[in-house]
């Protein structure tokens, strides 16, 4: 079954792109995708631009309300997601615990709704 792993972290804790640590950090993300592939797990995922680029939209009484900023202003922001297909929650939690920024951020694990 499919789970979405929603990645949230405080961007100030990430290695700066100009720092020497950055390359190693990016390497961890590639290694993570490779590990998923090697385990034969179907997955997809994207990384997102910072929440200073976020725009929220609501429609109320037919009127479109567009606001600058994310859902909720918080220290930890959503930085990306994976959708993985694994047998059960324990397997999903194991993969969540291997995500490179989980050691300073938070991963929310949500079962994807199935409409069969």
């Amino acid at each position: 079954m499919k789970f979405m792993l929603i990645l949230a972290s405080d961007p100030s804790l990430e290695p700066d792109p100009t720092s020497p640590d950055f390359e190693a950090y990016m390497g961890e993300w590639f290694a993570y995708s490779q590990a998923l592939t090697a385990a034969g797990i179907e997955f997809s995922g994207e990384a997102l631009q910072g929440d200073d680029t976020a725009t929220t939209v609501q429609v109320r009484d037919g009127e479109r309300l567009v606001t600058d900023g994310p859902f909720i202003e918080a220290k930890e922001v959503i930085g990306g997601f994976y959708v993985i297909d694994v047998p059960d929650l324990d397997a999903a939690l194991d993969w969540a615990a291997k995500i490179p920024n989980v050691c300073f951020g938070t991963v929310e694990v949500r079962p994807v709704m199935s409409f069969d």
């Binding site: 789970f3 059960d88 929650l89 324990d90 999903a92 949500r110 079962p111």
Partner: protein, 442 residues
């Protein structure tokens, strides 16, 4: 149950968790397994009578429950590929009449054997205590699915309405289903890391029964009984774990004092004042035996340590004969292993018993001044009660009022609050008496 119906409760205790565990493996859904097991017991209560019971009740229950599960799957149209297998199996094992269990014994005994069943029950416990569930849900599910209590019984035990408890259970089962929390044997790979959570849940059920923060009375034996039953089951399932044995020893030794811990009005009786002749000797012996088994495994842990202290109390003929040096020694070892404010407090209390209240007070002052975690103790009523009692023992009544009042302010158990209020009155009176007796005051 009306008269004329056969009493199935004797069978229920042992068979419930085995039946649910077996059904979870068969149907792969814990809610469905639980409903089917319940219906099978209802059917048993209706159909069994003295002289007309199946030879192998477990097999009869399993056959009946499987049929109920299939019915429910049909009704809810959640027909999976498993249905065909299940139907075939149910057909093979007969029609579910009383005679079914006779002769060949299909079902539990004939299908997988003892070890499988142990693993299934263990997987059930681990599933109920899954860390993805809230603490409240873990407790409620363990009592419902493993111990077989009804949601009404659990609701009564935790002083919430039945509909609140039913909602809590339904919500947890929805999450189990939606997130696919494993209740099968793949769980057992992580047994070692998850066993502490299971022990903690069982022990929290025990302490909830033993000294309840939410309850108006101090002792709720029903929850203690359930916890000890769960602890015994866990010990059967995991016989080679020292902490599992230690936990059962601790609960058994503590519970042996149950009859003497409160008076007729529900007021707590201090250990020193308890009638030791009313302690349950058989339970103490059982607890000591289990503690011995834990000790022989040479793997010390917090439950075994607490059980060792309970054992020293349980085997002292009188309060005065308690081996306080041995208790202080145990606290010293444990404080080195795992420092905690509660341990330091208990060590100070033991020290006061051995060397006098002045030494105890000194140890409490030490905790307050030198130990970084002393802040946590400020909201812990027993810290203030201990300090107050030591001051009172030394005749420093007026000084003891403030810590008694602080204890009263942070204590949430009604019976203990009443006791504290009484003590405040007593020390105030004593203080007046002392003042009257002083010649310079006259």
């Amino acid at each position: 149950m009306s008269t004329g119906e056969f009493d199935v409760t004797a069978v229920f205790r042992d068979e419930w968790p085995r039946l649910v565990a077996h059904l979870v493996r068969d149907v792969g859904d814990v809610g469905l397994a639980e409903d089917a097991a319940q219906e099978a017991f209802v059917e048993a209560a209706r159909r069994w009578s003295p002289g007309n019971t199946p030879d192998v009740p477990a097999a009869w229950l399993l056959t009946t429950a499987r049929r109920k599960a299939i019915d429910q799957l049909r009704r809810s149209k959640r027909l999976s590929e498993r249905l065909a297998d299940l139907a075939a199996e149910a057909h093979l094992t007969g029609q579910g009449d009383i005679g079914d269990g006779r002769g060949s014994s299909p079902g539990i005994d004939g299908n997988g054997g003892r070890d499988d069943l142990v693993d299934d029950q263990l997987a059930l416990l681990l599933g109920c205590c899954h860390p993805a569930l809230s603490f409240e849900a873990q407790v409620a599910l363990t009592l419902r699915i493993v111990a077989g209590l009804s949601s009404a019984q659990i609701a009564r035990a935790f002083f919430v309405t039945e509909s609140t408890m039913t909602r809590r259970l339904t919500r947890s089962k929805t999450k189990i289903r939606a997130a696919n929390i494993a209740f099968h044997r793949s769980n057992l790979e992580t047994l070692h890391e998850r066993l502490p959570v299971v022990c903690a849940i069982v022990y929290s059920i025990f302490t909830e029964g033993h000294a309840s923060a939410a309850a108006p009375t101090l002792l709720r034996g029903d929850l203690c009984d359930e916890a000890i039953w769960l602890g015994s089951l866990l010990r059967q399932l995991v016989p080679h774990d020292a902490e599992v044995a230690g936990l059962l020893a601790l609960m058994t030794l503590t519970d042996a004092r149950r009859a003497t811990r409160v008076d007729h009005d529900g007021q707590p009786i201090r250990l020193r004042d308890q009638d030791r002749s009313a302690w349950d000797r058989a339970q103490i012996d059982h607890g000591l035996q289990t503690l011995g088994a834990a000790y022989a495994m040479r793997d010390a842990g917090q439950y075994q340590f607490q059980a060792a202290i309970a054992a020293i109390h349980a085997t002292a003929r009188t309060f005065a004969e308690t081996d306080w040096s041995a208790i202080i020694g145990l606290y010293d070892v444990q404080l080195r292993r795992q420092p905690s404010p509660i341990l330091a407090l208990n060590r100070a209390i033991a020290l006061a018993e051995r060397d006098g209240a002045a030494a105890g007070l000194e140890a409490l002052d030490d905790i307050r001044e030198r130990i970084p975690f002393s802040g946590e103790l400020d909201n812990y009523p027993y810290f203030h009660t201990s300090s107050a009692e030591m001051l009172a023992t030394l005749g420093r009544y007026s000084e003891s009022v403030a810590p008694f009042e602080r204890a009263l302010a942070v204590c949430t158990n009604d019976a203990e609050r009443a006791h504290l209020a009484l003590r405040i009155d007593q020390v105030r009176c004593s203080d007046v008496d002392v003042a009257r007796r002083r010649p310079d005051h006259a």
